[in-house]
């Protein structure tokens, strides 16, 4: 009988997961254009950006607040090239990713010599510098930003028919997810794990720790730049207000709520955030308080975020249903 209940639970989990995946695949068909774009596309894109934070934290133990600025750089480069220079959107996108990676090399070189809380503050300073740069330099439109950014014709108009944009964001999300999980298993990934857990020992073993950290930062920037390109295509507009301090904290909030240690948390947190952000103005002006309270609750009660809660719940139920849960899985709790 017990085996039956346990396998019943596992079956239910798989069915639910399959159901969720099916819904995700069919969002443009199942929901209105507004929901598909405002919730669907936005959650996917913010999820990609949050995934860069989660990757950096779980792989290398660095919480970076510069990811918003990095996706801003990608967005601005795409917009400037496409609108002002008339470059083809795909080419502009590739150039944007390239520029962001180069800037990340610069930021990373300065920031990688610091750890922990110092790293957090230096990345915050980098984010603020980037914000002020874009809000002052007239070549990027200063306060007005750049308007009329058109996505490639293949993706369609995001707010009229979001199907193209949605599937592009979905494909990118899947690729990023697979890429990060793959990276964990490469020698590079293992080296990063070493830097996260025992940097002194790694240095003694001859690894170039600052270089490894900078490389990880660059990978994070690559991920964030994809999000930036998708974001500017989705919004048709980029302005400094999209990368200010509030947005930087919002992205951190998404990563924390979803679960700083689990990669799926990026998209879970992004979905929750987007839903609250879209629908709460109808009930209250105090959206930030709401998000702040959820953030606080998660940090106080469950540092693993929502993904962590789901995992603990699952383990609890499995244990109650008779399965002996292996200890190592309990202890690590951290795997993207």
């Amino acid at each position: 009988m017990r085996i039956g209940r346990l396998s019943g639970w596992l079956l239910l989990k798989r069915a639910a997961l399959a159901g969720v995946l099916l819904v995700i695949l069919l969002v443009p068909q199942l929901f209105s254009a507004f929901v598909a774009s405002s919730i669907g596309v936005q959650a996917l894109v913010l999820g990609i950006a949050a995934a860069s934070i989660i990757f950096l934290n779980s792989a290398v133990g660095m919480v970076s607040l510069a990811q918003t600025a990095l996706y801003g750089i990608a967005a601005y480069t795409t917009a400037k090239l496409a609108v002002v220079q008339g470059v083809d959107p795909w080419v502009a996108a590739m150039a944007a990713v390239g520029v962001t990676v180069v800037v990340a090399l610069l930021f990373g070189a300065i920031a990688s010599r610091s750890e922990g809380i110092y790293f957090l503050m230096i990345t915050l300073a980098s984010a603020v510098i980037t914000y002020y740069f874009f809000s002052q330099v007239t070549a990027f439109g200063s306060h007005e930003g750049i308007n009329a950014v058109e996505p490639p014709r293949l993706l369609g108009k995001p707010f009229v028919d979001p199907t193209g944009m949605y599937y592009a964001a979905l494909i990118c999300s899947v690729i990023i997810y697979v890429l990060i999980r793959y990276l964990r298993r490469t020698p590079f990934g293992y080296a990063l794990q070493g830097v996260r857990d025992e940097p002194v020992r790694m240095r003694a073993l001859g690894f170039n720790v600052p270089l490894l950290r900078t490389s990880a930062f660059v990978v994070g920037a690559f991920i964030a730049s994809i999000a930036g390109v998708l974001l500017v295509w989705y919004n048709s507009n980029i302005s400094p207000g999209a990368i200010d301090l509030t947005r930087t904290i919002d992205l951190l909030t998404i990563a924390v709520i979803g679960g700083l240690g689990r990669l799926e948390g990026a998209w879970i947190g992004a979905l929750l955030f987007t839903v609250v952000q879209t629908y709460s103005p109808a009930y209250t002006d105090r959206f930030e308080t709401l998000i702040g309270l959820i953030f606080l609750a998660v940090v106080l009660a469950s540092p693993g975020g929502i993904a962590g809660i789901a995992r603990s719940l699952d383990r609890f139920i499995r244990r109650r249903l008779g399965e002996s849960v292996d200890a190592p899985a309990l202890a690590s709790g951290r795997q993207p």
Binding site: S7, L11, A15, G19, F31, V35, S38, N237
Partner: protein, 440 residues
């Protein structure tokens, strides 16, 4: 997973049934809020600002828009707060439902609110936004929503209608350069200024206003020796005032809301004379700046509305507004261009709707055509739209004066009729004002 599940074909089938049921249920709940074409209530969204330095104008804009509904559509006020609604307004038999949205002068928040109102709430017409850069972003968005109508609030950047030219975006208030018509000549001929500095916020609307001033001042022979542009959101304007050169005849202040108060206070504290050494942009000439007090007496500036005019069209508007939305001090709500222009915008919408009997079918084509050809008579003069759907307005020079009861008020000292956006050919689509252009 340590265990193995024993699943027969029957279980697998039921698992798939669960998935399909889940999908269908979600589909049923999810397909909501696709805005239906208006047969019945007409939904109007009003977009203003409630955060940042211009939050002071929220009350004025919403009150102006609502007063138009009360005066001309039979509405009844549900309260005097800025976001208290209006009930019972109808036009051609269609009831009117209003929704409010507000941002903070940044384009992306304005866009998000515009999208929420248009696509989530499903408004048919959007009145707004308030600020220059927001207007440019919303006008671009309007191009993506050709079956909805966008009527400008007070956003006054030049490019919004001269460059973006969205076919469904209508500006009945004119742009910021038009609001400065007459002031450049006034500075040169009446105040005898020859060498001037400009101090303003660093975005498109102050640049547009500067362009309007320069367009008259420089051809007359004047010179701009320095332009000081301060980022929006700065609260320390003391250092900005310190940057003013000492050898100028006067300076033009192009700020709005709380920034205006900060500069005026600082300048007066340092011993400066606001009446002889300063001219105000249109947002400077607003009752929200009266907290500075007596140093303001004599300060002149450009404005699209005849503040303090004794003309009956203006006084009946002001008195009527005061009766519905009383403000202290008396007349402080009516004495603002933000109130008047949102009032004009809503009136334009109502008149257009009346002309087509509330018929918004066919992608609102008839309604938009009616708006294009509208001849509006407003408390601030007659309004007609040009080919870019921007208004040809009458502009005024207004001055802050001391009233009989000792409080501050306005007086209109000059009227400039028939001002169009190109200033008679001076401005064009390529001449987007910026920090240094137009040159002088």
């Amino acid at each position: 997973m340590a265990s193995r599940t024993v699943v027969g074909s029957g279980r697998r089938a039921s698992a798939w049934a669960v998935c399909v049921a889940l999908g269908v249920t979600l589909a049923a709940c999810g397909t909501g809020s696709t805005p239906s074409p208006s047969a019945g209530p007409i939904k109007i969204g009003i977009l203003s600002i409630c955060g940042g330095p211009f939050a002071t104008f929220e009350q004025e804009t919403f009150s102006g828009a609502k007063y138009a509904l009360i005066q001309n559509a039979g509405g009844k006020s549900l309260g005097t707060g800025p976001e208290d609604g209006v009930s019972g307004a109808t036009v051609s038999g269609h009831p009117i439902q209003i929704s409010f949205g507000c941002s903070d002068a940044s384009p992306d928040k304005a866009l998000a609110e515009a999208r929420r109102l248009i696509q989530n709430v499903g408004v048919d017409v959007l009145l707004g936004p308030l600020s220059g850069d927001e207007g440019i972003a919303v006008a671009n968005y309007a191009k993506q929503q050709p079956n909805k109508t966008f009527v400008n609030g007070t956003s006054a950047a030049q490019q919004t209608t001269l460059s973006v030219k969205a076919p469904n975006f209508f500006r009945f208030g004119g742009d910021g350069a038009q609001w400065m018509a007459g002031l450049g000549k006034y500075a040169y001929q009446t105040l005898m200024w020859r060498n001037v500095a400009i101090l303003g916020e660093d975005y498109s609307y102050p640049w547009t206003q500067a362009a309007g001033f320069i367009g008259e001042f420089c051809p007359a022979g004047g010179k701009i020796s320095k332009r000081i542009w301060i980022p929006l959101g700065t609260t320390d304007w003391a250092s900005a005032v310190a940057q003013l050169p000492s050898n100028i005849d006067g300076f033009l202040l192009l700020t709005g809301g709380t920034d205006t108060v900060a500069v005026e206070k600082e300048y007066a504290t340092r011993g400066g004379n606001l009446a002889t050494h300063m001219l105000g942009g249109s947002s400077v000439m607003d009752p929200t700046s009266f907290t500075v007090g007596q140093p303001l007496k004599g300060l002149a500036g450009g404005s699209p509305v005849p503040l303090g005019s004794t003309d009956s069209a203006w006084t009946s508007y002001a008195d009527g507004l005061e009766a519905v939305y009383p403000a202290t001090p008396k007349g402080s709500l009516a004495g603002s261009l933000f109130t008047a222009l949102y009032y004009d915008g809503m009136n334009a919408i109502l008149q257009g709707l009346k002309q087509v009997n509330g018929d918004l079918s066919g992608n609102q084509a008839k309604f938009q055509q009616a708006l294009s050809g509208l001849s509006l008579s407003t408390p601030n003069g007659p309004i007609k739209l040009d080919a870019n759907r921007n208004a040809i307005i009458t502009n005024y020079i207004v001055q802050i004066v001391s009233q009989a009861d000792g409080s501050l008020g306005f007086k209109t000292i000059q009227t400039v009729p028939n001002v169009d956006e190109t200033f008679g050919g001076v401005f064009g689509p390529a001449s987007a004002p910026s920090r240094d252009s137009p040159t002088c």
